[in-house]
Point group: D2
Chain length 340, copies 4
């Protein structure tokens, strides 16, 4: 490649930002030109995160505003900030991958209830492509704005896509999901204080979670049908990792074949024959799926695992970037997990 792609990372010292930098610092065709952080502005990256000592980004200064021109921006920002920044950047001709939720749901009327703001950028919202490559690869290729999916929707939609693709009726799906704590971000909270989270298993947002309308919206996009998701998220004492159990009442029994055919050519989605463990995907872009049909209850049980900061956020964002720029989709994200 003649010229490296110039990239700017907004909100770089949150967890998705740090994970992005981990991948970007090893990407052969990308140059990170600006690393933005309000909290740590004025310091060098490796002073804040010593693990970057061994990268070309070690002495890059953290700044509040971009210091150089760039081609593409990753936004790892609060939803409300992304909301207004995205159209500005697009107006300036930048490509944008937004890791917030501000452009994930296509129906603008849902934002007040689930995000607490009016979505005032309807035109930009129409531009947004949902960044789940295994489903929307072709649209991502030409996108100016990619709304990078939430972690729960990624793990759920990859588990439902084989049904949707085949037009199998779903009607109601129960999604029971477990996440590592990093999914809640870097902001401290009493219940995430180490002594209180150690040896804890905690359900939360049982009555309402903003990933539900995101899942339902994308399912409708894919299948044209309306499906109701019953969603119960839990957080457990692990930094990273996500395991989702999906329950679908159906008469479709040939699950292994259906799933293997669907993902035959996918590098990052693998069908496995034993119940999966998140340990094998920590630090990767992998999604492992274990489909099982239980005759006696006529229930399809689909179990999926991802790294919530990987395929559930930052490495998926890199995958989207690679596609948008016509590079090999797997560049810099085809890595084995840290084990143990």
């Amino acid at each position: 490649m003649e010229q490296a792609l110039r990239v700017c990372v907004y909100g770089a010292t949150g967890y998705t930002g740090i994970e992005l930098l981990r991948y970007l610092s090893q990407h052969p065709y990308v140059k990170v030109v600006s690393v933005l952080s309000r909290t740590y502005a004025g310091r060098y990256l490796s002073d804040v995160l010593p693990s970057f000592f061994n990268t070309y980004l070690s002495k890059i200064p953290l700044t509040e505003e971009p210091q150089e021109d760039f081609d593409l921006a990753f936004l790892c920002l609060p939803h409300e900030i992304s909301l207004n920044l995205v159209p500005e950047l697009i107006k300036k001709g930048k490509k944008v991958i937004d890791l917030s939720g501000a452009y994930r749901i296509s129906k603008k009327e849902l934002y007040p209830e689930f995000y607490g703001f009016e979505h005032v950028h309807e035109e930009t919202l129409k531009l947004a492509v949902y960044g789940l490559p295994e489903v929307f690869r072709d649209s991502i290729k030409n996108a100016t704005l990619v709304a990078n999916p939430g972690c729960y929707p990624t793990a759920t939609l990859l588990g439902l896509y084989p049904f949707l693709k085949e037009g199998i009726n779903l009607d109601r799906v129960i999604v029971d999901a477990i996440s590592g704590v990093s999914g809640a971000g870097r902001k401290t909270a009493q219940h995430f204080h180490y002594p209180e989270m150690e040896q804890n298993i905690m359900a939360y947002s049982v009555e309402k979670h903003r990933h539900v309308p995101e899942m339902e919206d994308v399912i409708t996009k894919i299948s044209g049908k309306s499906v109701k998701i019953r969603f119960t998220p839990k957080v457990i004492p692990a930094s990273r990792g996500m395991l989702c159990s999906l329950y679908v009442q159906t008469s479709e029994k040939r699950l292994k074949d259906l799933f293997e055919e669907t993902y035959l050519c996918e590098k990052f989605v693998k069908i496995i024959h034993e119940p999966p463990a998140t340990k094998h995907v920590i630090g990767t872009n992998l999604c492992l799926i274990y489909p099982y049909y239980e005759e006696r209850t006529q229930t399809a049980v689909i179990i999926t695992v991802i790294d919530n900061l990987g395929k559930g956020a930052s490495s998926q964002a890199i995958q989207n970037m690679n596609i948008m720029l016509g590079m090999d989709e797997a560049t810099s994200i085809e890595k084995p997990a840290l084990f143990p």
Copy 2:
């Protein structure tokens, strides 16, 4: 009480045995006269478990066989060993609380499939009372043999009992459950080696688990009806703790009232108004229940938490003992959790 009850603990150095001793060493009306352990026979208890230094059991020798006569035995043994030991002990006039699975299911024909052995003690099996006090208190009072419930069945059945008691139809229930690692016992395994279990979320026994026939059998006992349980257990990086999510499709919406009425007089089952966390029940006999009805999917979502070694095993065994002996049911098990 004039005379202390003399108790013998078989298999005392496994996790349920150790937890039993923790409670028994503080019990005002009980004297532990024999502590049996094949693995550590010949040593003193506090040499193997220094934390017992501060108890009267500190210098009790661990032995292979009982050293003194006793009134009641707790069996913390493998299923196959319990199977044959129980009738022997009963013949000798002992009361027995069996923490294994050998006498939990009333239908003897299910044992070969789920336990791998023929149940050769049909008469003894008929004597067994299922030791879930909130449901079977009256039978436990007069029992000679109590089959102490499994951890998953305890957390599940307490969450379903309000429906069963009211005759509400259940038909099919999805039970999605998370357990701490101690639920799998003290025997080492590659995937439970610390470095591999840290930061891991793992599904297992998705296709078949012996707690399913136990739950279904007890449900039928209570309600006279047949209900199918779809059960998915997961293990996460915590020593103790269990959280179960139960999904029931129903039109019954008054869940909070139903649950509060059912457990109004129970000391160890509490209905709470926020999604529960296991941290609050570690080391206790408590079961916290959070019931929620979701209109849009017509689903009752019941979330229960227990300590798998507490209400899920050893403190429930103490509760059963207290009932069998006519003592205050809460003796020695009414303690707050270790927090943090």
Copy 3:
């Protein structure tokens, strides 16, 4: 006992306060009459900490000020608040056990450097008895004010006391200590956010720590000599637990005898013959000590373990209370650990 001792706990919803309540709720001769918490005032204890459901304190209201008269107060407060509250309470005739550091060091001139305030209550400071029962039991009996020791000083001083008692010269001692995270209190911090503390080992306060003058001061009180402590604290991913390694260059080789003689009659200090593990003391008032003399380097290596919230704070405070009130010193704190 005719009448229960009436106790008030200030700062009850921090970690040492919660742990105190755990013991106090089970204490046969004590009645907790007021539970003070600024953060949670207006709520019931079991609403904030559901694990207290099973205690008589379940429905006690958390308040900002005491609601009833009391005999003894535990202060689990910031140092600066304790500083001024202690003399007020003493003036009102209360006995006080202060778990802060405000009265631990007898030399008032050290407070500005190590605590950031002038110690303006010199007379009260003179009243303070250092609450390490194994060393100062006789003074504690008659104390009005007990300064409850810090966790690091407790684990260190119990490891050095056999030398000090025998008049063995110490000169310089290296104390290398590891603590669970709860030692830093309940206040959240970025580096104690679960995802960042998991799998982390962190040194801190290497150049200055307020427990150093505390240790040196008490050593001088015991031995009349001046000893210099080189202290390096580390925090690791555990909620509770503390392990200290002490290094003393000495020609005294008969360590096991020396240690066993010193602590022969102590219930809560035990000499063990294998390197200790904190797991055995979690939730207890135990201190396990492993003394070893290495010939080739002429170094005494003393390893001690405690629960930083137990013998390092709250159960030691109960031990002090028991002594002050003429009760059996072990009342309510002679319990086995939670294992696993």
Copy 4:
């Protein structure tokens, strides 16, 4: 590079083997041609370790013996097996990097006491170069056999090297070290069973550890002097990570300068100005060092952190390989940590 280096990994499914494969699978100039594992022979790598799905090694069969010719072998084997295999491989003209301890100590008379076997390959032992690149880089360049250092010696020797290089007298050094559990290998053990290691801090091998003669031997090699190491290892609940505190009584006070000069040109050793945390080096080849001189006790306190499986084992082995083969020393090991 015209031709890739052909590499064979013996003992590939232990922790150091897996970590080696993680790096090797991303190395641009290396081709792994054989992956040996007795335990899992006959299966594909990604069936045993699904995280390798995304690498060219995914479908490599695990075998008991090499299937193809190779240039260099990594031995991740028990000491006794390495002992005899190394001379065989060298006789066949292979280069060898041995991650066991069989060739680390140059004095053959120490092996019976510390390794339990006679070292019967004296000639081969003389060939062995100690693989600590920052100290022995020039010898490594021409080595046929590299004895890859132990994790504790790596973290200790890098902390002492600035003194040794300057000829500063050390005499006696106290090394107080903390390791994650993976340092003990993949073999299960009761005390490393997840429920027992969670929330545990454990000292071990306090009286004798085979890394002591290794450290003392290398110190003599470097400085020509004899130094006595007092060594106390501890293990804590973390999969990876190692923090060593070194205590040296000295009058040398200019530590920061001394350390910065020593490591000025080193990519993988960094002097930092705040006490270090292992979290920043997990998954990297970095060693962070924090040197501090305490006037009042005339003690140099040096704190070092590494990933025990990284700079303490496998990435250091890669660094050695790169040097032996004349490649850029940092190839494939210059990566940021996984954070969080």
